[in-house]
């Protein structure tokens, strides 16, 4: 548990991360993701509870632990005037058997800006340099705090590929993100946190399948009577017009239900167009659990 004054940032988070696996800590801003990473890396001391990372207490024996762990802190971290290549070399020198910094800069597309001062790198370049610093020491366990924030889609794909390669080679990866797509694509285990507590956890598949709910989306003439549609369906089904002309029906979708919907639309003189049957995405699960309002 970690408190700041009267605010409890993290409360009773149980995480288990085996080698060669990826755990995604998913949650809205302020959920306690970064606090969790900082407690696990020994930058913050938990106010209560037990934390063991690779068998040691991160608050007690940081040097021995840090030699085995790679950290990508949020916002990176570099001397303001340092060149990208210089920074990576400083971090590489802290490890006994580092990866070749020149090669790492090359695969991360940073060779062109190897001599550019850190302050003048773009946000995405700074992120890639921070990622290089996290993995250059060949750690057993890597903490990536929002690794793809500010990256363009190409760079994000590359990072995903790297996370996959880390996992393949036996590294345990804990990453925080608020991108559902990222958690779904990378993680073996997803832990959804909000207000410092776990609200759901499991594999991406189990989380999206948990409720068993499905939905059918279609387009038609705006302003149809959705209550009438719901009445035409068996009990337990819901219907709504999400935005003008875009409808959604929630419940188990089978051929009879689909037929009922299209027949009802025909009765309204409307053609149900662009019909899609969708499983809930992780995003739906996330929004259901953490609410749809914007966080201050």
């Amino acid at each position: 548990m970690k408190r700041y004054g009267r605010t409890t940032a993290v409360d009773g988070l149980d995480l288990e991360l085996p080698a060669a696996s990826v755990l995604a800590l998913l949650g809205p801003n302020g959920a306690g993701k970064t606090t969790t990473v900082e407690v696990c890396t020994g930058f913050l001391r938990a106010d209560a509870g037990e934390v063991r990372v690779l068998g040691t207490d991160p608050a007690g024996a940081p040097d021995a632990l840090r030699a085995r762990v790679g950290v990508m802190p949020q916002g990176g971290g570099a001397y303001p005037g340092v060149r990208a290549a210089e920074m990576l070399r400083v971090v590489a020198a802290c490890s006994a058997h580092p990866l070749d910094p020149g090669w790492l800069l090359d695969v991360l597309g940073l060779t062109g800006c190897a001599r550019t001062p850190y302050k003048r790198l773009s946000g995405g370049q700074q992120q890639r340099l921070a990622l290089a610093c996290a993995v250059v020491g060949r750690p057993e366990l890597v903490f990536l705090d929002e690794p793809t924030a500010g990256m363009d889609p190409q760079a994000r794909r590359l990072v995903w590929e790297m996370v996959g390669a880390l996992r393949r080679d036996g590294v345990a990866v804990l990453l925080t993100t608020h991108l559902m797509e990222e958690a779904e694509a990378l993680a073996d285990q997803v832990v959804i946190v909000d207000h410092g507590r776990v609200v759901a956890q499991g594999t991406p598949a189990s989380l999206t399948a948990a409720s068993g709910a499905q939905e059918l989306r279609f387009r038609a003439r705006p302003g149809m009577d959705v209550d009438g549609l719901a009445a035409a369906l068996p009990s337990g089904y819901g219907a709504a017009e999400r935005t003008a002309g875009r409808y959604v029906v929630q419940g188990r979708i089978d051929p009879a239900v689909l037929s009922t919907i299209t027949t009802w639309c025909a009765g309204q003189g409307a053609l149900a167009d662009d019909v899609q049957v969708a499983k809930r995405s992780l995003e739906d699960v996330f929004l259901e659990l953490t609410g749809r309002e914007l966080r201050s």
Partner: protein, 257 residues
């Protein structure tokens, strides 16, 4: 395939302390020499003061003027690098997250500080060589017996001002550090016994300046380099005292960001 199988197979372990120190200190030294404001503070201003105070009679000094000016400017150089430059760099390094970045590696805390101080020593060596050479051209002939003592005083000055610089840069916000480090530099330059010898300062001010690291270092350097005699015990004790106090407070007060 961008990452061949086995690329990331874990092989962790801390680097050798010597290599960590050399790479960190070397990088910080290069950064200090690349930074225009740092070079202005640590090299240009001392050189201008050395030449200016020797050639222009704005401050009353015994002849030959360079004999009094050169040790004063060496003291200024130490203060500029170890205290003002160091505090500002440390403050902004914390702001930019590099201190946490390095603390998150296998680099132990003591090496993190040692690397910074080694970079400071590197800059001081460059300053001393450059300033001594210019002073020699201006006719400076220091007492040979005092040179060893002067090296000792410079090292003690680096530790006292270095510890104070770490304390200031490590505990306050970067902007506050920037303002305070420059203000303190200016006040100590004029009233702290550096350009104006203690004997020329008004009584109470001279008493205060005598127990400041600036006064102890500058008076000590002027004494050993003009007479060749060892420094007064007070000079050494004042510098050691500031080192001890600043180190003790730093251990508690310095934050990684």
């Amino acid at each position: 395939m961008t990452f061949p199988a086995g690329t990331f197979t874990p092989r962790p372990g801390p680097g050798s302390p010597g290599r960590m120190l050399a790479v960190q200190a070397g990088t910080e030294l290069r950064l200090a020499l690349r930074n225009g404001e740092q070079v202005l503070l640590t090299l240009l201003i001392p050189v201008v003061l050395l030449v200016g105070l020797t050639l222009l009679r704005v401050v009353p000094l015994p002849e030959p003027r360079v004999a009094a000016v050169a040790p004063s400017v060496l003291a200024l150089a130490v203060m500029s690098t170890a205290f003002t430059g160091q505090a500002i760099a440390f403050g902004f390094d914390r702001r930019y997250g590099v201190v946490r970045r390095l603390a998150a590696t296998a680099l132990p805390r003591w090496l993190l500080v040692a690397g910074r101080l080694a970079a400071v020593l590197g800059v001081v060596v460059i300053q001393v060589v450059l300033l001594a050479a210019i002073a020699a051209v201006l006719g400076w002939r220091p007492a040979p017996a005092g040179v060893g003592w002067a090296v000792l005083l410079v090292l003690l000055g680096c530790s006292a001002f270095g510890a104070l610089g770490i304390l200031l840069g490590g505990s306050l916000r970067a902007e506050v550090t920037l303002a305070l480090a420059n203000l303190v530099w200016f006040v100590l330059l004029l009233a702290g016994g550096i350009v104006v010898p203690l004997a020329e300062l008004p009584g109470p001010l001279a008493a205060v300046a005598g127990v400041l690291p600036s006064g102890a270092l500058a008076e000590g350097l002027r004494l050993v380099l003009t007479t060749g005699r060892p420094p007064a015990p007070a000079h050494v004790l004042v510098l050691l005292g500031w080192t001890a106090v600043a180190t003790a407070v730093s251990v508690r007060a310095v934050r990684l960001r």
